[in-house]
Amino acid sequence: MENISLADALQPASFHEETDEGSRLFLTPWQMVARRFFSNRMALFGMAVLIVIALFSFAGPLFYAYSESELFYIDKETGEELRTTGDSARLATSTLASLQKPSLRHILGTNRLGQDMLARLMYGGRVSLLVGFVVVFVELLLGILLGGLAGYYRGLVDSVIMRVVDIISSIPLIPLMLIMSSLLITLQISTQHKIYVTMFILGALYWTGVSRMVRGSILSLREMEFMQAADATGIRASNKIFHHLIPNMLPNLIVLATLDLGGIILLESTLSFLGVGVGAPYASWGNMVSTVNDSEIMQHFPHVWVAPGICILIVVLAFNFVGDGLRDATDPRMKGR
């Protein structure tokens, strides 16, 4: 209780209204970061959007009756809609419920194959978010390891790793993915596994940014007094790395990872749009937008291609807002830049 009364004495009156957290006088660095982050309206908005989209994509399908690949049919005589689970004799004489306009049964209508668009939007969101997080995980793993080795040991190790980084970052990405895709098709990898293979390829190409940053910060941190002190005490290399170097790089890493999440989701959607990423029957926002290449759909059925496009835009925007907010929060000098 003592420090609260001290806080009461020293802080301006307006702080009394705040929670315990806000009225405490001494804050740890991370509490200060959190405080700055939560006072940033744009970042909070981005965070809220991401939570909603994550719930929509991961929890939504649990409460929604239709699956992403279920086809709907229409009975030609009665005009009644049939599900594939229904009477198979009637299904044989009915037609696909393709390109239905939005209605109560299908809030966002159906696509050309007669699949429910809302369900596909949910599953597409799963793919986008999953790809984003897995690729970022892979890039962080590779980037921290290799960037760390280069920065810590310097010399020959550094030169070799950094030349590999240069080579990988000079390879044009989209042509490379086109080649990769035809490779995966002929290796007869199933569509489901192709998603995972694509994730690892993207991760293996994206880590160069992380490794450059990690190497750079290690090189500058090594010159700091606290690192010389750590050297002087003779602690183990692993302790130096995990207790002194990584915590100091963490803020920058988190910011980079958040901004990369948006970039990777954008890239995955572009690849899926080109037919290189996630393919049918699986839904992905990118391949849903690619139906726009059908001029009939472009003209008459905007509900089929506009919604997934807006979803991509919103998710990437939200990651950029959060990333920007985190950067401002972890590095106050950058505020508003």
Partner: protein, 325 residues
């Protein structure tokens, strides 16, 4: 300085060699080669004829032998003959590069035209509604998928919407222009409005944010305070004192971007049917046209490497405080 450039050039050559090895290995491991793809509809073709074709196209050699041949020829400036277009790769690149370059250069011009003044405005009106509106626009542009923006523009302004602008190609195919007239120029402009808008909306944010951040730094510096204290008019303070100093990082960034003008944007070119390098590369990669893919991708890699090099050198040239070693 010279030593730095020589060393960087040597490293760049090494990097390009690495890139070419990786690209060749990948391109050759594409399972269906050009002969398989182009003869798939011919039922009467024999294995002998296929082998003969492979020999003509140089696809009969192994990975290492094929790469070695490619490298020796490339070192002499011969990138081979495209399998799909049946012309030397250097000739195709030379023919379509001007189109790609012109489109990207016009786009870059407009990006700078909007980005820099709006960046200055946002910095001067920092934390006002003007600044927030500009920032929001920048964020939307950065986060926008180019293919979605292109599709929306085509739907809204093209044939299916207001029918104001053509949606594909560079010229109206039904009109034959005998010479370069005003009408032809107008036709080009009409065809390029949408693709260039896509480039500008997506990329303007980079320049805008960069200018804004640098202007905020400059406007809060001591020499600006001194100038204001001396009673220098605000216009002069902003444009002569502050803005001129932000040109240093901007020029560096711009220099690094120049080589990218030649490589273009595959997606936008494809969606608007512009016959540029990127669009052709898309065809080439579906047909496993190894010489063109190698030539084009290496061309892109050279552009990227040159971009890094130029921006590093410019960094030292425009700012004498920076020494390269």
């Amino acid at each position: 300085m010279r030593q730095f450039i020589v060393r960087r050039l040597a490293i760049s050559a090494l990097v390009l060699l690495g890139v070419s090895i990786m690209l060749y290995a990948l391109a050759r491991s594409m399972p269906a080669d050009y002969v398989t793809l182009s003869t798939s509809t011919l039922q009467k073709i024999t294995q002998e004829q296929k082998d003969q074709l492979r020999k003509i196209y140089g696809l009969d050699k192994g990975l290492v032998g094929g790469y070695w041949d490619w490298l020796l020829n490339a070192a002499r400036g011969d990138l081979g003959t495209s399998l799909v277009f049946a012309r030397p790769v250097t000739e195709i690149i030379g023919k379509y590069m001007p189109i790609t370059f012109t489109v990207s250069a016009i786009a870059l011009f407009f990006e700078l035209l909007f980005g820099i003044p709006l960046g200055i405005l946002a910095a001067r009106r920092r934390n006002t509604s003007v600044d927030y509106a500009i920032t929001a626009f920048v964020f939307i542009g950065i986060s926008m998928p180019s293919f979605f923006l292109a599709a929306m523009l085509k739907r809204a302004l093209g044939y299916y919407g207001l029918n104001l602008l053509p949606t594909a190609g560079m010229l109206n195919a039904r009109v034959i222009y005998r010479s370069f007239t005003f009408a032809k120029a107008l036709d080009y402009i009409q065809h390029l409005i949408m693709p260039i808008s896509v480039f500008v909306i997506i990329n303007v944010g980079i320049w805008l944010r960069y200018t804004r951040a640098n202007m905020i730094d400059a406007l809060s510096s001591d020499y600006v305070r001194t100038a204001r204290a001396k009673g220098v008019p605000e216009r002069r303070v902003v444009y002569s004192h502050a803005f001129r100093n932000t040109l240093i990082p901007t020029v560096t960034l711009l220099g690094g971007q120049l080589p990218a003008l030649f490589s273009g944007a595959i997606i936008t070119e494809n969606l608007f049917g512009i016959q540029g390098l990127g669009n052709i590369a898309l065809t080439a990669s579906t047909m496993a046209d190894i010489p063109y893919l190698m030539g084009f991708n290496m061309f892109l890699a050279v552009c990227t490497v040159l971009g890094y090099l130029i921006s590093d050198i410019l960094y030292a040239v425009v700012d004498p405080r920076i020494r390269l070693s």
